[in-house]
């Protein structure tokens, strides 16, 4: 008399299966969301990814008065927002802080490219400006770009 495999349904064995059901569930769900590790949104003040703003270019332009005397030297910095890093519906305005004079300028422009004109800059100096996007009335991470004033 050989002992074959019993394929009949045994309610007692169903109880054994029942024992493992909760164990199966427990392995599925884990809490892996850590606020400290959330640093991927460019509008997050803890953002650690690629820079949101990049300096596209800086130029110095000298303006002369009617007598041919230079009356203003303007440093132009062009900044671009890397919109590919933002959600499609993101909106912003610009805030620029001249770190030499601590003057702050707010611009309602919501364009992706912004050009700031710094007047009366001294040739040979280095000027730094802090650019901040204001999103829904809240400032984001400031980015500082410095340019040497050279003709």
């Amino acid at each position: 008399m050989g002992r074959g495999i019993n394929m009949e349904f045994d309610p007692m064995k169903a109880h054994y299966i029942l024992l493992f059901v909760p164990l199966l569930f427990t392995s599925c769900l884990k809490d892996d969301l850590e606020p400290a590790k959330l640093t991927t949104n460019p509008f997050d003040l803890d953002y650690t990814g690629e820079p949101l703003l990049v300096l596209e270019g800086a130029t110095v332009e000298v303006f002369y008065d009617d007598s041919g005397f230079p009356n203003d030297t303007v440093l132009e910095q062009t900044i671009r927002v890397r919109t590919e890093l933002l959600s499609p519906l993101a909106g912003w305005t610009w805030r620029i802080k001249d770190l030499s004079t601590n003057t702050i300028v707010d611009s309602p422009s919501n364009s992706a490219t912004f050009t700031y004109f710094a007047h009366n800059v001294s040739v040979g100096s280095t000027r730094c400006f802090e650019y901040t996007l204001i999103a829904e009335l809240t400032p984001t991470i400031p980015y500082t770009f410095c340019s040497e004033v050279e003709l």
């Binding site: 024992l19 769900l29 997050d44 959600s87 999103a135 009335l137 984001t140």
Partner: protein, 252 residues
């Protein structure tokens, strides 16, 4: 005095003799003819009783016609006790007999044992299974809350990714997500406890099921039937046979 019978006297003598003979015959017929009456049985239980008349004839009918006079009856029905009684049949009348067959003592004992067995089975099987089922239900509900809390954290992650305001992000990271994480941890703790209790209950249920398999279900041995069968005489083509009964509990 000597009397001589003449030709006219002879017919008178024969007529008187014939008359007397007929009178005697009539008296004899009246004396030895069997008159009958009927008995109508109203027995509880009404559908399964049997009876034996005069310790010979086993019957199962509601009405029986018998010769007048007393007759011995043994009534029986399954699970009931055999009742012996004498019933008198009245000539030309149908007499109704109302009889309640009491339950046999062995059946009452069996019933008591059966109830005890079923109670113990409830304790061994139904109750633990119900508790386990309830615990399992609570575990499933707890798991659904864990799942809901986990989904909320997923939604928070998406809210973070889609956020377009540093203030909203700050609120998410400092208030919303920690609160939802706490909810998730509480739900997980509840679920863990529920799952543990369910495991414990399931283990207990399995153990009690195993243990209950060793408890044998009581079987009823109708001793009264054996006794009743021993009383019966079954009419057959060759006159009849005596029948007896013996039961054996094969489940033991």
């Amino acid at each position: 005095m000597h009397v001589t019978m003449t030709g006219k006297q002879m017919p008178k003598k024969w007529a008187r003799t014939f008359f007397c003979s007929m009178l005697i015959a009539s008296f004899a017929v009246n004396t030895f003819a069997q008159t009958t009456g009927k008995l109508r049985m109203l027995v509880d239980p009404g559908d399964s009783y049997e009876f034996i008349v005069d310790r010979q004839f086993r019957m199962q009918q509601r009405e029986v016609e018998l010769t007048t006079g007393p007759h011995h009856f043994s009534f029986w029905a399954p699970e009931r006790v055999v009742v012996d009684t004498t019933l008198t049949v009245v000539e030309g009348r149908t007499t109704s007999i109302v009889l309640y067959l009491p339950y046999a003592r062995s059946y009452l004992v069996y019933q008591r044992d059966l109830q005890s067995y079923e109670r113990s089975m409830k304790m061994y099987r139904l109750l633990p299974a119900m508790v386990t089922g309830g615990s399992l239900l609570y575990t499933v509900l707890s798991y659904s809350k864990v799942k809901k809390a986990h989904n909320q954290l997923d939604a928070d992650q998406k809210s973070y990714d889609d956020a377009r305001s540093p203030r909203k992000i700050a609120v998410l990271k400092t208030q919303t997500i920690p609160a939802h994480k706490e909810d998730f941890e509480k739900a997980q703790t509840r679920y863990g406890i529920a799952a543990g209790v369910t495991l414990l209950c399931a283990g207990t249920t399995v153990y009690l099921f195993h243990r209950s398999n060793k408890v044998t279900r009581p079987a009823y041995n109708d001793q009264e039937k054996i006794r009743f069968d021993g009383l019966s005489w079954m009419p057959g083509p060759n006159g009849g046979t005596w029948a007896g009964g013996l039961t054996w509990n094969l489940t033991r």
